[in-house]
Structures are given as structure tokens and as C-alpha cells.
């Protein structure tokens, strides 16, 4: 077993770290203030990442990506947990599900996404179907060689900057052991398609400047050639490709937690009250001890799950454990760090309150903590017939 980084891994980590520190950190305060990333800035970040060959690092070299395996990509994602998500989105990690593109879909969607020419967003959630994805109401009906989509999606991240959306839509029903379930199909829908509208979403407490959107489909006609994968196979496709993105949430949390910890530790050593550094009081020093222990634990869970994926082993349970633990760890670590800063921790003059707010969404998106616990427990109990 090898716990250290290889020279290449260390270089990847160091490069991404210095990139986010130099190219992203200086813009964070302004984005917090305005809630908006100027598009020129976003595109400048994208262009630099492209020049460095880091754009689409998650995609195979055969399609023009960086060709990182899951473990190396997780190390990269960990570094991208440090800066504002509104900026790091331009670092470019197209959805892996685009690898299911076939024929002319590759030229229209996959390759431009890898080259950074077209941004993608991914839409499953609806007002009445969140955790229960298969409860979705958005549906498509076949009409000759086309499909006509109706319904709406909400909470769709960065659809405001997306050129096309990967959208999951009900196309039928089947009888299962648990009763009737929707059959789902995945479509690629271009931004300017007639009958498709991307609207501003809600104001979120987390990740200012990284917007969620509402999608409306009103008799939106899409040719069958824009179906990703097979008709009715969307749910299986989502399971196959999207488990991995959960692990990026865990990696994000580990990187973010380390940045927060790096602020809290020296502050505890320098801030004096009662004639000595507050780090001399166990009330503060034991917080630091717990924080670093939890960060390391989340880190190893995350890297071990990535390693398992690279071995081609089933890692769904481990990914769920990593996502669950890392997101909950980040909530505790940001809260404790803010506490160590006392009253100043709450003030927007320092980034602590922002990290604390940002952390909240991690336990909700890409499957809530409850859903992760459900996945983990079913993995344990199902084999026992329970």
C-alpha cells in the first residue's frame, strides 16, 4: 500500500494549487459582493486551463481530455475545492456521461465540451421530484422521428452559462416489484431550441455567483438523434455515470476544509485572550485536534473510493460513505473554524462566514445525507434479504 503522492501527482496538485491561488483567489471577494462572475473572467480562466491541458482533465485522452484516472482526478478536485465554485466551474470538467455520445453526437456535444467550446449542465431534479428521481413528471412523447418534451426542472446548476443541457425525462412506465416506475430517457437539448427556456433560479445561501436555474419545456421538439444512450435507459445511465460525480463532492469538501483549517490554525496560535494565545486553551486546541482528524479521515475515505474505481471494482457504497462523511465533516469544520475566530468569524470581512454558508449545500445536492445513508445501509442489508 502506498500513501504518498507520486512525483506526477505532486506536480498536478502543486500546479492546480498555485493556479487557484493566483488566478482565482484574487477575484473571490468581488464575486461575493456582486454575486456574479463577469463572463470575460470566466472565459479567461477557461482559456488558461485549456492552454495548460488541464481542461477536461477527467476525460480520456482519446477524446482530447487530460486522461486522468479517478484517483488523480480526485486529487485535482480536492484542490478545486479551495476556490470559489463560481470560478472553479470554468476550470472545465464536462459531465462524464457525455462519453455515451455516439456518431454525430460526438462532434456536436462531446468534443466541443472537451475542447471548452460548449458548456454543459445536467438536469434531473424537478419541484416534485428531488431524491425520488423516478417520480419525475417532465415527459417526452414520440412524434414521428422526433420527441416532444413538456415539463420543468429546477435547481439546475450553471445552466445560465450552459450551451446545452443533458436532461432526463420520463418516456414511459414499467411494472416493478415496488409498483409502477417511470422509464427515463436522457436527451441532449441545445440552449436555443424552440420551446426550451432557461430561467433564473433561486437565490441560494451557498456558493454566491454559482447560479441554479429553472428549465421550462413547452412542446419542445427534439429529434431522436439527440437521445443520449438508448430510449428508456436513462436511469441506468445516470447510475452508471453519475456515482462518480458524488465523489467529486467529497473531494471538494476535503480541499475546502483544508483551506479553512489553514486559516483557523495560525489564528489560534496568534490571537491572544487572557494573556495568552487562545490555542493554549483546550477549548480551542481540542477543536483543532478534532478538525484535522476528521479532515484526514474524509480524505482517506475519498481517495480509497477513487482507488477502488480505478481498479474497476464496485465502489458505490464507498462513494456514498465518502460523500456522506466529507460533507458532514465540512459542516463541522467550517462551524468550528468560525467559532475559533469569535465574532470576527461571522463578518464578511473574513471568508469564514462564506465557507460556513457554502458548506450547507454539500449535504443536499448530489444526493442528500439521508439518501447516502440509505444507499450505504441497503448495500449492507440487501444481501441478508432484509
Amino acid at each position: 500500500m502506498e500513501f504518498g503522492l507520486s512525483t506526477e501527482q505532486q506536480l498536478i496538485v502543486d500546479t492546480v494549487r498555485s493556479f487557484v491561488e493566483n488566478e482565482m483567489y484574487p477575484h473571490e471577494a468581488e464575486i461575493e459582493r456582486t454575486g456574479q462572475v463577469p463572463l470575460e473572467l470566466g472565459l479567461e480562466i477557461r482559456d488558461k486551463c485549456r492552454d495548460l491541458g488541464f481542461y477536461a482533465a477527467n476525460m480520456p485522452e482519446a477524446v482530447g481530455g487530460g486522461g486522468l484516472n479517478h484517483l488523480d482526478f480526485t486529487l485535482l478536485e480536492r484542490e478545486l475545492g479551495r476556490p470559489s465554485m463560481a470560478l472553479s466551474v470554468f476550470f472545465g470538467r464536462p459531465s462524464g456521461i457525455l462519453l455515451a455520445c455516439e456518431g454525430e453526437q460526438r462532434e456536436r456535444y462531446l468534443l466541443p465540451a472537451v475542447r471548452g467550446e460548449r458548456f454543459d449542465a445536467l438536469a434531473m431534479t424537478e419541484p416534485d421530484a428531488g431524491s425520488d428521481v423516478r417520480g419525475m413528471k417532465c415527459y417526452a412523447k414520440q412524434d414521428g422521428g422526433d420527441w416532444i418534451i413538456n415539463g420543468s426542472k429546477h435547481f439546475i446548476s450553471h445552466a445560465d452559462i450552459a450551451d446545452f443541457v443533458i436532461v432526463f425525462v420520463a418516456t414511459g412506465e414499467e411494472q416493478t416489484a415496488q409498483g409502477k416506475k417511470k422509464l427515463i430517457t436522457c436527451f441532449l437539448v441545445d440552449r436555443d431550441t424552440a420551446g426550451f427556456e432557461i430561467r433564473k433560479g433561486y437565490q441560494s445561501v451557498s456558493h454566491r455567483g454559482y447560479h441554479n436555474c429553472i428549465l421550462n419545456f413547452d412542446n419542445c421538439r427534439v429529434p431522436a438523434a439527440q437521445i443520449l444512450g438508448e430510449v428508456h435507459q436513462g436511469f441506468d445511465m445516470a447510475n452508471k455515470w453519475l456515482y462518480g460525480t458524488r465523489l467529486t463532492v467529497a473531494a471538494f469538501c476535503v480541499g475546502r476544509a483544508r483551506r479553512v483549517f489553514e486559516l483557523a490554525l495560525p489564528y489560534a496560535a496568534e490571537r491572544k485572550q487572557f494573556g495568552q494565545a487562545i490555542g493554549r486553551f483546550q477549548g480551542v486546541s481540542f477543536k483543532l485536534a478534532d478538525m484535522i482528524t476528521e479532515i484526514d479521515a474524509a480524505d482517506y475515505l475519498t481517495l480509497a473510493a477513487a482507488w477502488k474505481m480505478d481498479q474497476g471494482l464496485d465502489a458505490d457504497r464507498e462513494i456514498a460513505s465518502a460523500k456522506l462523511y466529507a460533507t458532514e465533516m465540512l459542516a463541522r469544520v467550517t462551524d468550528q473554524a468560525l467559532q475559533i475566530f469569535g465574532g470576527m468569524g461571522l463578518m464578511s470581512d473574513l471568508p469564514l462566514e462564506r465557507f460556513w454558508r457554502d458548506a450547507r449545500v454539500e449535504r443536499i445536492w448530489d444526493g442528500t445525507s439521508e439518501i447516502q445513508r440509505h444507499i450505504i445501509s441497503r448495500h449492507l442489508l440487501r444481501p441478508l434479504g432484509c
Binding site: 512525483t7 506526477e8 505532486q10 506536480l11 498536478i12 502543486d14 500546479t15 498555485s18 493556479f19 488558461k48 492552454d51 495548460l52 491541458g53 488541464f54 482533465a57 487530460g66 486522461g67 486522468l68
Partner: protein
């Protein structure tokens, strides 16, 4: 045209330096190590000279324990073509010994330009480049802030007290880099992957015929004394008053 770049692995500039409790040295246990920033500038300059078509090959050399191989690989990711690791183990080496080892490499490789950082941020000696030039009997231009090579001549702008000095020197020569020479690039992902496959040759002080009889002995390391907190003064009069009477600098 060949360029030889000497690089040193040092404590990362961002690390807060701690002294060992027995004051024998700086504590490097678990500390992040990186390429000396001035050496990074030297590698960058070599890569730019190659990109400009002036140089055809860049060789990096580093002296130290096995870990310096990592530093050599990062120079390769920046664009160096091959590396030489001089395995000197954990021994502490003085600038003269380093210069003697490098002089042997210069002899073997016959580069037209030898680039070094003007100093390393750990020991801050600022001697190796100068000593190397003397040992090789090469002209030297230290503290370079601009390097131009054309018609078998080098024109180097140096940062000196009170301004900039421009020198014209014959090749081969030794150049040491100052901070403003260039801004090192981010390495590219494909170049990181390629670095692994570039040739890395191992030498030892014995194979180069240099004995490590160190002329410098480190006796004691102490942290700098802590600075006292400053004071706030209400106005210019109070400032002048305290500069005169308390600080006694006026």
C-alpha cells in the same frame, strides 16, 4: 546550443521556518519542499531561450539526496530535456563543494550557457554561480534581469545598487538570475506526464572525482528575534517626536 541549469531543492517559500530544539539546523521534518524560486526562474529562462530557437537542449542538474529527483522532474515538466542527479546523500555541502561538482558537469557537458539562481532561499549564500564561473574560467553575469543571446554573444542586464548595468559577454558563460528576469509558467498537464519519460542520469561525487571535504561548518541556528509590535501615533508631530526621542533615528 546547450544550456545547463543548476537547481536546488529547498524548504517551500510559504512554509514558516522552525529551528530544531537543539539549534543544530532548521527543522525539515514533514515540511513542504520545492524548487528554489530563483532556480525556477533559471529553468524558465532556459525554456524561453529554447522556445525562441536559441537553445537546442536544456540539461538540469541537482545535488542532494534521492528526493531531489522530484525537483528535477518538475524542471522537466517545465521543459528541460534531461537531468543529472548528483547523489550526495544527506551531507551538508558548502557553496564551494557544489561549485566543484557543477564544474565537473560543465566540463563533461560543455554547455554554452550555465544558468543558476542568484541564491537559494534557504542558506542565502549567493556564492555558487560566482565560484563556478571562477572554477570554469567563464565570464559571469550575476543578478540578471534580462538575457539576450545572439551572434555567439550574451547581453545581460544586471540589477545592481542604484540601477541597471548592461554587460556584453562571450559564450560560454555563467548567468545567475534575479527575481524580475521572468515569471515562471504553470506546468502543463501533458508535460507533467511526459516528464517521467525523460532521461535522468545519476552521478556521485566519487564518479565525478570530487571529495566532499566541507570547508564550512554550521555551528548554531537561531530564529530571528521576534519583532515588537508597532505603536500608533496620532499625528505627524507625534511621529517626528517618537522617531527623534524613542527610536533615535532622526
Amino acid at each position: 546550443m546547450k544550456i545547463l541549469v543548476a537547481i536546488k531543492r529547498v524548504l517551500d517559500y510559504s512554509v514558516k521556518v522552525r529551528v530544531k530544539t537543539d539549534h543544530s539546523d532548521v527543522d525539515l521534518a514533514n515540511a513542504k519542499m520545492s524548487m528554489n524560486p530563483f532556480c525556477e526562474i533559471a529553468v524558465e529562462e532556459a525554456v524561453r531561450l529554447k522556445e525562441a530557437g536559441v537553445a537546442s537542449e536544456i540539461i538540469v542538474v541537482s545535488i542532494g539526496s534521492k528526493a531531489v529527483q522530484e525537483t528535477i522532474r518538475s524542471a522537466m515538466a517545465m521543459g528541460a530535456d534531461r537531468g543529472i542527479w548528483i547523489d550526495s546523500g544527506e551531507a551538508a555541502l558548502s557553496p564551494l563543494t557544489i561549485a566543484q561538482l557543477l564544474a565537473k558537469v560543465v566540463q563533461a557537458e560543455q554547455p554554452s550557457v550555465v544558468l543558476l539562481g542568484k541564491q537559494a532561499i534557504d542558506s542565502d549564500d549567493n556564492q555558487t554561480g560566482q565560484m563556478l564561473a571562477a572554477l570554469c574560467d567563464y565570464p559571469q553575469a550575476t543578478f540578471a534581469s534580462k538575457v539576450t543571446i545572439a551572434d555567439s554573444k550574451a547581453t545581460v542586464v544586471r540589477e545592481v545598487d542604484g540601477g541597471l548595468q548592461t554587460l556584453q559577454l562571450a559564450l560560454p558563460l555563467v548567468v545567475t538570475t534575479d527575481l524580475r528576469l521572468n515569471e515562471p509558467r504553470y506546468v502543463k498537464l501533458p508535460d507533467i506526464m511526459k516528464a517521467k519519460k525523460k532521461p535522468l542520469d545519476t552521478q556521485t561525487p566519487e564518479s565525478l572525482g570530487v571529495s566532499l571535504n566541507n570547508s564550512v561548518k554550521m555551528i548554531k541556528v537561531e530564529p530571528p528575534s521576534e519583532r515588537k509590535a508597532g505603536i500608533m501615533v496620532p499625528d505627524v508631530d507625534a511621529l517626528i517626536n517618537s522617531l527623534k526621542n524613542q527610536a533615535k533615528v532622526l
